[in-house]
Symmetry: C2
Subunit: 505 residues, 2 copies
């Protein structure tokens, strides 16, 4: 049962309807902010648990830093930027009072506070207190937190005024160590995206004009959505001594001299959920990678005669008990029995639209014959539709089945990415013609749609303006450079640097 809007028909509308029909999130009465509902938040919790473990293994520890940053912390930065203006939420009062029957901000703050858009400034302030000697280094902390950026055109998960993320911040005694950390975390993001979200990514460095302000280098993971647009899925910044100098993070080195430290920061956010949707969902709704599914197996009882209910439920509880020992991905399986007072058909479609990896429908006939009606959300090398399977066979294979679904989802997305990076566009004319077309949904197996171009870039400052005019971006400068000569696809000048061009979210 397809959604009202298909990907082909109207991709942006399809995206919204996937979220609505899967009941993952909704716009709230708080302008530009979203309510993340249990199915959407459950995905975030799984992503958090997986990545938290990965972070911990690198020796990084979780902390929590303040939501508010004093305005003066931004003064120095602002003095170095012409026409500095940032869209940020500013707290100016600390009381709400009734005045003439109208509720009014009261008790003005001496210094306004900024709701953190990211925490480099306030964390650097702590680092400056913590770091004294090279013996204190490295310091590696992370926080799971909410941040606020005053987005003008909010879109659920992709761009909301408030979003959830993790931000890692580290301090090192040498540039080399800090750069290694930056790249280690970039690699962690690649692993998270590919192994956990089944979302293949390209990795590379951002061009100068796309860097995080204050960074020496910004590295990124970039994914291709089903409409060929790019989604920046995560960034890792080598900050050099820039933040150390402005916040005075200095240490006594082994030579007994005072030196500024080297810092890094890296983050991924609830935006990843937008990426998962646009990588995997289809015209029937959401498709959740088993690794992050809040429930990996959902059991829907089919009770046609109330007299059978007890026998059916007993059979279902037995199956759940058998499943409870299974460990797909080395973790306890997550099973849900949906015993709400709704029709089984409604429940089946609800879980289909939510993208639960495996749905079991179990009725009297199944209980009697010791069978299970199995429906995997994606075709798994088997004919479409439901499959009747002996209970033992299903229970015995469930872990492998979930792992195979995960693999197949990744493989499918990887094929889409690999086959939709054009490398044969070598002149500005062909480039302009290619991006003169609109992005549309890339049907499975199709390769002629607008997506990524890997080609030359001359790095001339004027290219920034050309990109803006064409509404195209350089996603990254891939690590694996060809070092061949060619012409810049924007200016026609000789160029050797390979970059990835694409439209983006």
């Amino acid at each position: 049962m397809a959604l009202k809007t298909s990907r082909k028909n109207n991709y942006p509308e399809w995206y919204q309807s996937v979220i609505a029909e899967a009941d993952m999130a909704e716009n709230s009465s708080s302008p530009g902010c979203m309510v993340i509902k249990p199915w959407g938040y459950g995905l975030w919790e799984r992503i958090r648990d997986v990545f938290d473990e990965m972070i911990r293994e690198t020796g990084c520890e979780n902390c929590y830093f303040p939501l508010f940053i004093p305005l003066s912390f931004f003064q120095k930065e602002a003095e170095h930027v012409d026409g500095f203006a940032k869209e940020m939420a500013v707290v100016t009062h600390s009381r709400l009072s009734m005045k003439d029957g109208k509720l009014t901000p009261d008790s003005k703050l001496e210094e306004p506070l900024i709701v953190r858009p990211t925490s480099e400034a306030i964390i650097a302030d702590s680092f400056a207190k913590w770091v004294k000697s090279y013996r204190d280094l490295p310091i590696m902390v992370n926080q799971w937190a909410n941040v606020v950026r005053w987005e003008m055109r909010p879109r659920l998960f992709l761009r909301t005024r408030e979003f959830l993320w993790q931000e890692g911040h580290t301090v090192h005694a040498s540039a080399k160590e800090a750069e290694e950390e930056t790249k280690r975390m970039l690699e962690a993001y690649r692993e998270l995206c590919e192994n956990t979200l089944a979302m293949p990514v390209l990795t590379g460095r951002k061009p100068e004009h796309e860097k995080f302000p204050g960074a020496v280098d910004t590295y990124c993971v970039e994914a291709m959505m089903q409409d060929g647009k790019a989604l920046q899925a995560g960034t890792s910044h080598f900050l050099g001594q820039n933040f150390a100098k402005s916040a005075n993070i200095a240490f006594i080195n082994k030579q007994n001299q005072s030196e500024y430290a080297y810092t890094t920061s890296w983050g991924v956010s609830t935006r990843l959920i937008g990426g998962v949707i646009m990588t995997h969902a289809d015209d029937e709704g959401m498709v959740v990678p088993p690794r992050i599914a809040p429930y990996q197996v959902v059991i829907v009882p089919v009770v046609k005669n109330p007299d059978d209910e007890e026998a059916i439920m007993a059979y279902i509880r037995d199956i759940r008990k058998e499943l409870s020992g299974k460990m797909p991905f080395g973790e306890k399986i997550r099973v849900k029995i949906d015993s709400r007072n709704r029709s089984s058909v409604d429940k089946f479609w609800e879980w289909t639209r939510k993208g639960a990896p495996i749905i079991l429908e179990i009725g009297k006939r199944d209980a009697d014959s010791n069978n299970i009606m199995v429906k995997t959300r994606i075709k798994l090398g088997q004919p479409e539709g439901k499959l009747i399977m002996p209970r033992g066979e299903f229970v015995g294979s469930v872990a492998l089945r979930l792992e195979n679904i995960q693999k197949e989802m990744f493989a499918k997305a990887k094929t889409r990415l690999d086959t939709n990076i054009r490398t044969d566009i070598t002149t500005p004319e062909d480039f302009a013609r290619y991006f003169g077309q609109s992005n549309t949904w890339i049907e499975e197996g199709s390769t002629g749609k607008v997506a990524f171009v890997r080609g030359k870039w001359c790095a001339d400052p004027q290219t920034e303006e050309i990109l803006k005019a064409m509404k195209i971006t350089i996603r990254c400068i891939p690590f694996d450079q060809s070092h061949t000569e060619g012409v810049c696809l924007l200016t026609g000048k000789p160029a050797t640097t390979d970059v990835i061009y694409a439209r983006s979210y």
Copy 2:
């Protein structure tokens, strides 16, 4: 090695020094906000994990609601309260710009936004959209979030402008179901405090003037700190139809009539960590209940001769491997090898001040003789000091040992609570004399200090003023009422209601 300040000497200063020496948190440059450092945040993560599981088992699901609440959401409430004034952070601008070299709030919002002090108002707004029929009920959600209240005298963990908490919000079709939920969650808090934090609590109902605004009934768990003061550790509110009426949460009931729903809310915060400190810490520093210790066993290598290092570390790794299969409290044990480049004596005292439940010191002699030097942070029915133990004996008993530490910590705190509730004060004169004294540290076994009084209260509105003047509070109206007659300890009027009186944090 004792802290500079003892409990006896200066209890408030001792509290600050425990936190500083255990490196759990610190004041930040963001006024009134704290930085929660890894050891403090680790406690919060354990509390979160345990309680999250408890919540889930009740059928409650995690969500995330916006940080900002439009000002108009408070208008209705304000119209019903004389002289409404609330200390809350108010966002009035959405941009920061440079004007004449000065960073300035810019782009004024049409409607100011309040940084959530609690989320009833914004969540009720969502509930109103979600609830249509009795079939949609109950709805039970929870969020782990930061909230902001503009505290004037902040104290780490106890009262900070920003703090972390969980807030549960539920909607029900009947008052009875909602009241049951309120009490179920109060019981969950009692269980959390007692079983997980080893912190015994009293439960009961708040008097009218201590209720959450908008609640029909507020229930609470109250703990006794080591200075005899009370700490409100958690609250659970039965909101009746109050929020449903103002936000229009209505549903079609089974009789096909529209009816307002019944809501509840309940929360505990990082304040619990303050409670854990003031329940368990001693003059040597923090003492962490094993159930929530980020590390339950810390291994400190003692390397006197660098040539021995490899053998010692190999022996330690073996021990860790043996420990890794142990499951105190039914969970994987948390073991840390502290291999930092510091002296083993410094490390030993650092982990003592942090309150790690068990510290192992392992040197060459231990490795050679297959022994372990064990130090439990609290005496465990054994003479004070370190204990040399055969490795096998320690490994085999570690889970039980941790569970026994947890039990002993609870028992000790329970004895303190039970023996420091005065029930023999029956006249206002004796009551005034008792609370005429100052709170001081309750030494173990002592019972004559100022702490709790269980006595009569006449519920007369004037008692509120008397309490304020005496700087005493009614902590709760216990569920187990004696129904005897007596005189109100505040007014001398006849009274039958038993309440708990105490000074409080």
